[in-house]
Amino acid sequence: MMRYERNHFTSFLQIWILQLKSWVFPLFFMMVSGGKDGAISLLLRFSILGGFLLLLAIYAVVRWSKRGFRLEEGMLYLRDGVFVRKTREVPLSTISTINLSRSLTQRLFGTTELKLDTGHAVGNNTEISLVLSSKRAQEVQSELSAAPQKGEHLSEDEFHSAQGMPSVPKVVQLGSIQNGTLIHAVKPGSLLLAGLTSNAVLAGIAVFFSFYNLMDDLQNLLFPNLTEQLLSGAESLFSNQFFFWRIAQTILMLIGVYAVISSLAAAIGFLIRWYGFRIHKTDRHLIITYGLLQLKQYKLPLDRIQVVHLRQTPLRRIFSSCSLHVESVGYGNEKGEANLLVPYLRTADAKELMGNLVAGFNGQLALERPPKRSWRRYLVRASILPIFVAIPTTFLLSWGGWFWLLLPIGLISGTIAYHTTGFGYDESVVCLKSGGFWSQTTWVRHKGIQSISRNMNPFLRKAHLASVVVGYRGSTMGLSASAAYLEEADVEKLMSLVRFTALPQSKRNAAFQTESHLR
């Protein structure tokens, strides 16, 4: 029997620090207060602290020594637990995403964290995490990604190329990229543009102005004669009310400045996080590498990619640029991550690139638009919220009438939504496009469609219109793409298509004769 392999010995530090974090406050309190009337002498306090740190360190070392993994005949065996022993067996074919990541400290120790996901992760946590020396991490990564996927067998050549382990390159690089061709690299300039056109900056400025306005109005509402008081004499000039409002306004100003600065910082953060973003493609994988401080590398099996999105924010729409995203179990579900495939590029290029990246995804797919009679339904839908907000605010707030400005904005958004919406399909994907100022186009491979729904209300039924919702598999449950107010007959066609493409091949051939109306 093979022995379990341990994580790199420095990973005990990680466990130690993690444990220490939860004890920081009690320890700090003990050191500062020193018990009743400082009864505990300084020497004793330090020895308690030292003893405690040592105890935690011992625990961390024991914990590290009990944690292990081994790879054997297509299975990954995991072992963990000091008091309660846990073992887990993971068939390699179920691993969807392999992620290599190196934080600054890990770079210092020459280790790499290998994160694996099979689709059973809870929340933002990584399912399986191994900290290994960089060389070993690469070896394990190649072993893992050489494992045949479900229902797929390795060819002789592939098997041999997987055996030839790469040497460790001198430059700071994560995994080896064998036989990979560089498909796309994003320049720092584009990244900064991407950070600025992401919504963070706009949101920050908007929050500031709305706060400041609200502030002024509240002042008038609560202390309507404050201004007269200010004008009437010196004694009221220094009244408590005046000071209260000046201080409150200063605080709000500071919040505003903070919002703007933090938004800019967010844009720079965007640059740091996604720095050096590049995609390599091998026969069976997409390899995505990025990061300035924390290096990350994801290896996504191509045949597991079922969904690709193209997203546009209002600013990006003006610059006719966009970002591409991909749904793959375990990719982009960690804190502060996004399932980016390409952070920033021109829309026309994106559509071309998409097909190159993942076979079968036709970015140029022609989309059918909703009929003209559904335009007014988009307008109605987009004006409901502004009207509901504007009516009460007009009566309640002196400046509430300004909220009626939301109505034309809503109508514009509705019109944009009408012109944006569309759907299309070909032999390998279904494509749905929707949204107003913010828009999203989603391509779902037939295999990835989990369910399809057609929604109608009595008005739509009368007009023979329907909305369609396509449920797909992603990193979390309940993901779907939709398009509203399409021709009912078109939606029906789409449903028949899904019924048809979900059939196994044998039945599909037989059914093709009878359901030839699909094409």
Binding site: K150, G151, I449, Q450, S451, I452, S453, R454, N455, M456, N457, P458, R461, G471, Y472, R473, G474, M477, G478, L479, S480, M495, V498, R499, A502, L503, P504, Q505, S506, K507
Partner: protein
């Protein structure tokens, strides 16, 4: 082509009982609040809701619910105002379960829940026999299905 099936006729009775329970609680608390605070306006919406729950909703729900289970897909059509027609290809089904509450047990009804990787779908009231038959058949179909 198979035709869409209705839910079990006893389902209406079950929903009426559910409605009565809810109506007793809501109407009861509205009346109790009336005696306590000498304020009676809340009884009107409570009464309207109760009538809806007991007399209208069960009949409407029963009249419109349709489902279809074949060896290729599960389909449901439901919704009183907003109608939703859903198609779930059976080789996307991850697992299924059958649930019974105490009242459903009495009527020998069951709720069938179908899970895919993206969503959860329910058929609210089937006879237990049919529910078991469906899960058994779907189970078989899923097993013989190639991916």
């Amino acid at each position: 082509m198979n035709s869409y099936e209705k839910l079990h006729p006893l389902a209406k009775k079950l929903w009426v009982i559910h409605g009565i329970i809810a109506a007793v609680i809501v109407l009861g608390s509205a009346v109790a609040a009336g005696f306590l605070f000498k304020f009676w306006w809340q009884v009107l919406p409570a009464a309207i809701l109760s009538i809806y729950w007991v007399f209208l909703w069960p009949a409407w729900e029963m009249a419109q619910w349709r489902y279809l289970v074949t060896t290729e897909q599960v389909e449901t059509i439901h919704g009183i105002f907003f109608r939703t027609h859903t198609v779930i290809p059976i080789n996307r089904i991850q697992h299924m379960d059958i649930r019974q509450g105490p009242l459903q047990k009495k009527f020998e009804l069951a709720k069938l829940t179908v899970y895919t990787a993206a969503s959860v779908h329910q058929i609210p009231a089937l006879s237990m026999d049919i529910a078991e038959q469906i899960t058994a058949e779907l189970g078989k179909a899923i097993l013989t299905e190639e991916p």
